[in-house]
Structures are given as structure tokens and as C-alpha cells.
């Protein structure tokens, strides 16, 4: 059994905090695979496996800080016999993952008079709602108890059957799929884009950051979020829900920030009342939300409260992002990469940092005129970054 240890990534590294496991017990790993992320005094670093095999057991959980050399996980070489389990050796064998293979529990033999059908309260309620005959169902729970999935399985609903043994990634992919499909099915999108001069903003940022410690420095994203939120005050139909054939302005401006997760997938935690937050506060909110998103610690309010979405693929090199609206919101704003381009200012051509801001909006809630004016307002606001 190979021991996967906390690596020494520098002479001055004494310990690291395991922040994320990318591989889980039972996963195949190959030499060179990135299997975990570790936070060190110098920042977060992906660490790799040095052998082939199957991740047998995770010893150090996410969030734990351990010294260099500590065993993080056990990797079973391909030819070793497996112990099957994802659990520590002392634990009882873990249950099999597939729903179709109901566990072969010994059914206690009861006298006929006591053969009462055992039904969970939730299953009983659902069965009543759907008019399912419980005596016709075979339960998959302990002692043959009927659980909610047994009732669901017996109900002819239109939903596609869930894929077998899905993981967190699969579930997230499916959630994204459902939301985006619904959006494209129901929402008539229209798209607008404008390229704007980011020069003044960039110079202002450079000056701010020079005068502040690394923890207080601001990212361009913060200016973009604040400008978006301030501009939205004038265009409530973009910061709204479409419900029952009418537009319902959201009131607060809570901007969901599309956040890509390391292992794949995407979540959109909301920053609250962005138009009322100072830039340093917003920076803190953003850092906090992204960190919690990546560590899987989002609160339900993070995910439910967004009133508009901002997506930025600039860091990944795309110039223009044309987004898909996250229902029931009515707009998504996209920001592309900040790139240097020839740019005419006062009749002369110079090289300026520019960026393309885009808007995808729900045509039921707003029209192109408002959209264009909104983008112009964002651009205008970014020309006076000190006022954001």
C-alpha cells in the first residue's frame, strides 16, 4: 500500500492544510495526476500522486492542517488485493453504491399477523399524494421498509430516471443542465455588447494597490461588479424576476458571481447589496464567496439570493462572453479579457487596455434600448473609478 504524504514544497514549508480532495476513495489515480490541493504559507498549491493505483483511503480530511510528511491518503497499487472499502479498516463494509442493487438484508421472519408494511412517514405521505398503493410496493429499506424512493420508483412520472451512482460532479452538471435548458427553453434572450476603455480604471487600481497591503488590494472584477450594480439602479427591469407574465423588480441588488470550481462545474454565489458596499468590502465579500464556493461551504442564501448574474471569462482569455440567463433572473452580464488594443482618443490612436462588456437579457422584461443604455452607463461609471 503506497502512502501519499504531505509533500515538502520548499525548505521553509513545515505544514500544509489540505483544502480539497480531487480524487475520492475508489478513484483510479495515475502517476502525475493532481489529486489534492494544499494551502501553504505561500498560497494554495495542487499536489500530485507519484504512483499508479486506486485511492484506497483518505486519512486527512479537507481543512486539516498537518506537518510535512504526514500521510494524507493510502494508494493501493493495481496488483494489490482491494479491501473494497472507502471506510477505515475497522468500520463495517460500506454499502454498495447502486440503488438497483438493494442490500440483501436478512428479513426477520415474523408471524403472519405481525407482517405490517413498514413505510417511512415521508413515503406514506408521498404515496397518498400520488395515489400509490403501498401494498403493491416492495420496500428497499431495513426490514423491507418502504422509503420515498420506492414510492417514486412506482410512480409513473415524466422525469428521466436518475443516472446510477452519481457523484457530486454529476449532480452539479445535472443541475446546471436543468437550469440552462430551462432558460433557453423559456427565456427569449437578446444580446448586446460594447467595448469600453479600461485605462482610467486600470491606472486608478494600480495606484490604490500600490498604497495598500496585499490583503487589501483590489481586483478589476470588483470595479466591474460595483459599476454593474450602480448602473442597475436605473434599470430595475434587468435586476428582476419574470413571474406570471410580468416583471417583478428585485429591490436589492444581489449580484451572483459565476464561480468555476476546480474539479469542474460552476456555482453562482450571490454578493448582497453590491451597490451599497464599498470597494474594499466588496473585495472581501468576493474573496469570501469564492473561497466558500470552492470549499463547498456555501450557505443556501448564497445560492438563492442572486438577482442578476455576472460572468467573467477574461482570465481564461475570452474576449466576449454571451451568457445564458439563470432563471428566474432577467439578465446576465458578461465581461471579457482586459486586453491592450489600438484605441482612438481625441482623434489620435493610442494603445489602451479595453474590455468587452456584454448583456444577455430577457426580452419579455426589457428591450434593447434599455440594455444599450445600461451598458453605456457601466462604461461611463468605469471612467470615474474613484467614485465607485
Amino acid at each position: 500500500m503506497g502512502e501519499f504524504r504531505m509533500p515538502s514544497l520548499g525548505a521553509d514549508m513545515v505544514a500544509g492544510t489540505l483544502t480539497e480532495w480531487y480524487k475520492h476513495p475508489g478513484d483510479q489515480v495515475h502517476r502525475g495526476d493532481i489529486i489534492a490541493a494544499v494551502d501553504t504559507d505561500k498560497g494554495e498549491i495542487d499536489i500530485e500522486a507519484f504512483e499508479d493505483g486506486v485511492l484506497e483511503r483518505v486519512v486527512v480530511g479537507e481543512g486539516e492542517k498537518v506537518p510535512v510528511g504526514a500521510v494524507l491518503a493510502l494508494i493501493r497499487a493495481a496488483e494489490e488485493p482491494g479491501t473494497v472499502s472507502a471506510a477505515p479498516p475497522a468500520a463495517p463494509p460500506a454499502p454498495a453504491p447502486a440503488p438497483t442493487q438493494a442490500p440483501a438484508r436478512a428479513e426477520p421472519s415474523l408471524p403472519a399477523s405481525e407482517k405490517r408494511v413498514r413505510v417511512s412517514p415521508l413515503a406514506r405521505r408521498l404515496a397518498a399524494e400520488r395515489g400509490v398503493d403501498l401494498t403493491a410496493i416492495r420496500g428497499s429499506g431495513p426490514g423491507g421498509a418502504i422509503r420515498v424512493q420506492d414510492v417514486e420508483a412506482a410512480t409513473p412520472v415524466a422525469e428521466a430516471a436518475a443516472p446510477v451512482a452519481e457523484g457530486r460532479q454529476d449532480r452539479m452538471r445535472r443541475a446546471i443542465a436543468a437550469a440552462m435548458a430551462r432558460s433557453k427553453r423559456e427565456i427569449p434572450h437578446f444580446y448586446l455588447a460594447t467595448t469600453l476603455d479600461f485605462g482610467v480604471a486600470q491606472a486608478w487600481l494600480a495606484e490604490w494597490n500600490a498604497g495598500h497591503s496585499p490583503t487589501e488590494r483590489l481586483l478589476p472584477a470588483v470595479l466591474l461588479l460595483k459599476a454593474t450594480a450602480l448602473a442597475l439602479r436605473e434599470y430595475p427591469e434587468l435586476n428582476a424576476r419574470w413571474e406570471n407574465d410580468r416583471v417583478i423588480p428585485a429591490g436589492e441588488i444581489n449580484v451572483g458571481v459565476a464561480t468555476y470550481l476546480r474539479g469542474g462545474g460552476l456555482v453562482v454565489p450571490a454578493l448582497h447589496q453590491v451597490d451599497r458596499r464599498s470597494l474594499p468590502e466588496l473585495m472581501r465579500d468576493l474573496r469570501d464567496a469564492v473561497q466558500r464556493a470552492r470549499s463547498g461551504n456555501l450557505r443556501s442564501s448564497d445560492l438563492a439570493d442572486g438577482t442578476i448574474t455576472v460572468t467573467s471569462l477574461g482570465e481564461r482569455g475570452a474576449d466576449t462572453v454571451l451568457g445564458v440567463i439563470y432563471p428566474p433572473q432577467t439578465a446576465v452580464v458578461g465581461f471579457g479579457a482586459i486586453v491592450e488594443r489600438p484605441w482612438a482618443v481625441a482623434g489620435a490612436v493610442g494603445v489602451r487596455p479595453v474590455l468587452t462588456a456584454s448583456l444577455a437579457a430577457d426580452h419579455r422584461a426589457s428591450d434593447g434600448r434599455q440594455g444599450a443604455a445600461f451598458l453605456a452607463a457601466v462604461s461611463q461609471l468605469l471612467q470615474s473609478p474613484e467614485r465607485l
Binding site: 480532495w21 475520492h24 476513495p25 483518505v58 480530511g61 479537507e62 481543512g63 486539516e64 492542517k65 472507502a86 471506510a87 477505515p88 475497522a90 468500520a91 463495517p92 460500506a94 454499502p95 454498495a96 453504491p97 447502486a98 440503488p99 442493487q101 438493494a102 442490500p103 417511512s120 412517514p121 415521508l122 413515503a123 406514506r124 405521505r125 428497499s140 429499506g141 431495513p142 422509503r147 420515498v148 424512493q149 417514486e152 436518475a162 446510477v164 451512482a165 452519481e166 457523484g167 457530486r168 449532480r171 463547498g296 461551504n297 456555501l298 450557505r299 443556501s300
Partner: protein
């Protein structure tokens, strides 16, 4: 700011003493010794012997004196070294602090904060390893909280001092050296609310104090098996935040309660009953409990470990509950 739980408690005490002249700290060895768990180290030098007051080993006497001082207009923080010794002061807490307001027809209030260490896990044998916070949570008239993180250890104290009624704060002894992030402000959570430490949708794990860490570790392991456990830190044991508990169970349909107290008559029993009362028709499996084995906590490590809830037992209970078909219905 990263602080140990111990430093967080000390920071809270320092700020409380510095900001309100009515506040004083009293208890066994809080002054010259610096606190049995070093939570008050250095405070005697800073605030003097009147406000960081060493007491004789007279738990009933000085807890009662704390009640009297609160009646007399002060805001005492009484440290009872551990919950084990607090049994000598139960009369004052249960017959006194908890009853005075009601029994006087609302004429008196007792703005008293009592802090005590609780819990097992340090091989200190039966008489130093009790987890009796459930007993206190049984008693109307007092409020009971259990900070599980340095942040809560820092900020629950000033919030408790703002309460007009007695508040008992339980600090699990294994937490003192634990490090964690402590914010500059208490944050949006009210003192008497639970919080979701980890979101999940397959089942809800409910713990408090020293069990929260074990429970989060268990949730992490379960995630490896594809079981997404939600972890609730109760934070407040009286009042209980039923809404957070019930809304989570209504989503996950399953609950495992983790409590270092003994199972019979435990706080876990109370939470379980609340779930039955408020979410019975949402349950898809019986509520399960992982509590301490019903023995006086023994000294040798292997026996002590076997007596206490751990991540393994929590995982086993969770797997039992979710069964082989986790996630299948979604």
C-alpha cells in the same frame, strides 16, 4: 485573524473587562494561576485583583455571589473550572439564577455569565470528563450556549454579557488549542441560533461544541462515498433553534444527532423529539443518535475512545440511515 480557541476566549474576556466597568471575572485560579486552561492569563496584571478575582474552592459560594453581584448591578463573569465541579453549584444556578426572575414576579433579573469547560477526550477519567450541558439546557430561566469555533468563543461572550438573564457558556476542553479564523465582528448570526457548517442534501448531522469537528470530519468522509451530509452546529442549547434544525431535516429527510452526553435523557433525545414533532411526515428514516456509551468515562485511551462519539461511528450511523441507495431519487 487566526487565533486558538483559548486566545479567542481571552480576547473576549479582555475586551469585556476593558469596555464595561461593571464586568468582572471571578473563579478558581482565574487570577494568579491564569486560569486552569490559561484562558485568563495576563488579565490579573491588566485589570487588578478586584476585577479578576481568585476565589476559594467554593463553587456554590462564588456562583451564588455572582448572582448576588448581578442583582447588585454588576455584570459578573463566573468561571467554574469545569462542568464536573459545577455540580457543587447546581443549587445556586438551578434554584437561584434560573428562578429569581419568575419567582419575584418579574422584579429581578440576573445578568450573569457562567463559563465552564466541559467534555471528555483528555484521559482525565470519570470525574473530570462529564458532558452535562444537556442538564443545564433542561432548565428554563437560564440560557445555554456552546461555542464550537474560536470565532464563536470570541464573540459569544460579549453577546452573552448583553443578555439580561443568566447565560451558561460551555467550552469543550479539547477545543482550547484549536486554531481558527476569528473575524473582527460577531457576524450576522444571533447568539441563540444554530448554523449550517456544511451544506448537504442526503442527511443532516447535528452536533454542538466539541463534537462539531468530529462531525465535519465524518461529513468529509461521507462525501468520499457520495453521501452529501449537511452539518448543523447547534451553538445554542437553550433556546434550541428549531427552525434551522427542522428546515434542514425537511430538505434531507434524515438526521443523525451527535452528542457527547449519555444517550438516555440526552440533549440528543430532545432534538430527536423536536424533529418528530415538527418534521415527522418529512422523515424517510428513523432519527439516529451517536452518543457516549453509558459508562463513567474511563481513563485508558482505548477505552475512552471507545466510549465517545467519533467520526467512524457517525459515518456508520449515517450510512445505515441513507442505506445503499443514496442519491438515487434525484
Amino acid at each position: 485573524m487566526r487565533l486558538t480557541y483559548r486566545e479567542a476566549v481571552r480576547t473576549g474576556l479582555t475586551q469585556a473587562l476593558a469596555s464595561d466597568p461593571r464586568v468582572f471575572l471571578m473563579g478558581e485560579d482565574v487570577g494568579r494561576y491564569g486560569g486552569a486552561y490559561a484562558a485568563s492569563k495576563g488579565l490579573l496584571e491588566q485589570f487588578g485583583p478586584d476585577r479578576v478575582r481568585d476565589t476559594p474552592l467554593s463553587e456554590s459560594g462564588f456562583v451564588g455571589a455572582g448572582i448576588g453581584a448581578a442583582l447588585g448591578g454588576l455584570r459578573p463573569i463566573v468561571e467554574v473550572m469545569t462542568v464536573n465541579f459545577s455540580l457543587l453549584a447546581l443549587d445556586q444556578i438551578v434554584n437561584g439564577a434560573a428562578t429569581l426572575r419568575h419567582m419575584s414576579g418579574g422584579q429581578l433579573s440576573v445578568p450573569l455569565v457562567i463559563r465552564m469547560a466541559t467534555g471528555a477526550g483528555r484521559q482525565v477519567a470519570a470525574q473530570h470528563s462529564h458532558s452535562l450541558e444537556g442538564w443545564y439546557a433542561h432548565v428554563p430561566g437560564i440560557k445555554v450556549v456552546a461555542p464550537a469555533t474560536p470565532h464563536d468563543a470570541r464573540w459569544m461572550l460579549p453577546a452573552a454579557l448583553r443578555e439580561p438573564d443568566p447565560v451558561v457558556i460551555f467550552e469543550h476542553a479539547i477545543l482550547y488549542p484549536e486554531e481558527g479564523e476569528v473575524g473582527d465582528e460577531p457576524g450576522p448570526l444571533p447568539l441563540f441560533s444554530a448554523c449550517i457548517r456544511r451544506a448537504g442534501r442526503d442527511l443532516t448531522l447535528i452536533a454542538h461544541g466539541g463534537s462539531v469537528g468530529k462531525t465535519l470530519a465524518a461529513a468529509e468522509r461521507l462525501a468520499g462515498d457520495g453521501i452529501e451530509a449537511e452539518v448543523i452546529d447547534l451553538r445554542s442549547l437553550r433556546p434550541l433553534d428549531g427552525e434551522t434544525i427542522l428546515s434542514s431535516v425537511r430538505r434531507t429527510h434524515r438526521a443523525v444527532l451527535v452528542d457527547e452526553g449519555w444517550r438516555s435523557g440526552s440533549l440528543a433525545a430532545e432534538v430527536s423529539a423536536r424533529i418528530m414533532e415538527g418534521a415527522f411526515y418529512e422523515l424517510d428514516a428513523p432519527v439516529a443518535r451517536v452518543c457516549s456509551v453509558e459508562v463513567p468515562i474511563p481513563y485508558p485511551k482505548h477505552l475512552e475512545d471507545a466510549a465517545l462519539p467519533d467520526a467512524e461511528r457517525i459515518c456508520a450511523a449515517a450510512r445505515d440511515l441513507v442505506g445503499a441507495t443514496a442519491g438515487a431519487r434525484r
